[in-house]
């Protein structure tokens, strides 16, 4: 690991100011993704601002919904009585990811800001437009079994690894931030992550002087909620595809560089389509890269099964 300096933040706005003023500074929350990437020389910040002790870990009722502090651990969110009772899809999505140890350490804000697990992003001997803009993408034409089927570009076919964000998408969560001037704003979870386009190194719409302070859940939609995930191992493995559903809302995970809200499937269902017709309406825009073509069929079956379950 390369040398870096370290400080512990005492308030969110000044942390946001510091991160934008010091060259190559990064926020450190749980550290489970960032420190791993630093060991692999994929991330090499010169300065870390430890935000893990900021008083942003509360989970509390707000406006008929729930306000989840960005420094709440993933485990604390999944265990929260309100989350389990009113937002079960969120608890299920969180415990479908990582291990017990990692969920204890990883924070909500860090979960959202974690980086792709694309094997070529991790392999520093191969070109990757995320690591080095303009270098090229080795996953295109390479071993791309895990690659995206929605929203990819000729520059990047990686996926976002967060299970939690897929549940947040169907819950229509808002992400609250504060910037260096202390100005707060919220953005919809579906507007947080960027699709790769021609600049896959730009991963979110969070500004350079901005820190995520909370995730805000509106009241839960009517109807049941569920999360289903397919992967290579029964536990502790990234997804090949996942489906979150809440009422009439559906989102897909591990198929794009962000949680993929299946709005075409939702619209088809609202117009009276059958479950498989709704899945096909969404998948009409899917494209495989060769190794991941099976994901289109896998996603079709998973979506159909989840919709059938929801209608039962």
């Amino acid at each position: 690991m390369r040398p870096f300096t370290y400080e512990r933040a005492t308030d969110a706005a000044s942390a946001a100011k510091t991160v934008s003023e010091i060259p190559n500074a990064r926020f450190l929350a749980g550290g489970t993704n960032l420190l791993d990437l630093m060991k692999l020389d994929i991330e090499h910040p010169a300065h870390l601002i430890d935000i893990s002790r900021l008083p942003l870990a509360d989970i509390e009722a707000a406006d008929g919904g729930l306000r989840i502090g960005a420094m709440a651990s993933n485990a604390a969110v999944a265990a929260d009585a309100q989350v389990r009772a009113r937002y079960p899809v969120l608890a299920q999505a969180i415990v479908a990811g990582a291990s017990g140890q990692l969920r204890n350490k990883a924070r909500v804000g860090g979960n959202l800001m974690q980086r792709t697990r694309c094997a070529y992003f991790y392999d520093t001997t191969k070109p990757c437009n995320k690591r080095q803009p303009g270098a090229g993408c080795a996953a295109i034409g390479g071993l791309n079994r895990a690659a995206a089927i929605f929203g990819q570009s000729s520059a990047c076919i990686a996926t976002h690894p967060s299970d939690m964000s897929v549940a947040l998408s169907v819950l229509e969560a808002q992400v609250e931030t504060v910037n260096a001037k202390g100005v707060k704003r919220t953005l919809a979870i579906d507007d947080l992550h960027r699709l790769p386009g021609d600049a896959p190194h730009l991963e979110s719409n969070i500004a350079a002087d901005e820190l995520i302070t909370a995730v805000i859940l509106p009241p839960a939609p009517q109807g049941r909620q569920t999360y289903r995930k397919a992967r290579d191992r029964a536990s502790y493995s990234g997804g090949l595809a996942s489906v979150a559903a809440a009422g009439t809302r559906i989102a897909l995970g591990a198929v794009a560089l962000k949680a993929w809200r299946a709005s075409k499937a939702e619209a088809a269902l609202a117009a009276g389509a059958s479950p498989v017709e709704a899945a096909d309406a969404e998948l009409a825009q899917a494209n495989g890269a060769g190794g991941n073509d099976f994901k289109i069929h896998l996603t079709r079956r998973m979506m159909t099964a989840v919709i059938q379950d929801m209608q039962r």
Binding site: T32, D36, S52, Q92, S99, L102
Partner: protein, 180 residues
């Protein structure tokens, strides 16, 4: 804002923490992981460096009673924390019930993963008692019943290359079934 290791250097910082009930104040290179602090500075060799990437669980310790991968945490992040390692759970002659159960059930072969397995199991039982759900929990509103499927799922962050999983399951079931 506290500048422990200000921009430009020096690249080290002070950290004061409790390990197995003993207070320590040390100056560390900021890159030092909690695992390396325990093993190399404090000479507590129980926690093991397996993968060094949070994938194997051999480095699992309890921080303020919660199990984490000590390889994926910086020592400087733990100022003021209370860390318990396998040595702090118990030593020969005064074993923790989980350590005794692993011996009784022969829940290891080479033993490299064992300290992490035991610390993880102790943390896992506390999580289940607190009602934390897992992927195989059917009823998110009910108290957790630690079935074999629950124990396996909750221990999936600890890999055993010798594959002593059946005996590890037996040992944890023994302890979870008794008053701890």
């Amino acid at each position: 804002m506290t500048e422990l290791s200000p921009p430009g250097g020096p690249f080290h910082a002070d950290v004061a923490l409790s390990v197995n009930g003993e207070a320590h104040s040390v100056t560390v290179d900021t890159r030092t992981t909690l695992l390396d602090l325990l093993r190399e500075t404090l000479d507590l060799k129980g926690a093991k460096k397996g993968c060094n990437h949070g994938q194997c669980g051999a480095c699992t310790v309890l921080v303020n009673g919660v199990r984490i991968n000590s390889c994926l945490s910086l020592a400087v992040m733990h100022d003021g924390d209370a860390v318990v390692t396998i040595e702090g759970l118990g030593l020969p002659g005064n074993l923790h019930p989980m350590q005794a159960a692993f011996l009784e059930r022969d829940a290891f072969q080479c033993g490299y993963c064992t300290p992490g397995q035991i610390c993880s199991a102790v943390g896992m039982l506390a999580e289940a008692a607190d009602g934390e759900p897992s992927q195989v929990t059917a009823d998110l509103g009910a108290p957790i019943a630690l079935t074999d499927a629950e124990i396996r799922e909750r221990m999936s962050g600890n890999i055993c290359r010798c594959s002593a999983y059946p005996q590890i399951l037996d040992a944890i079931r023994d302890v979870s079934g008794s008053a701890l």
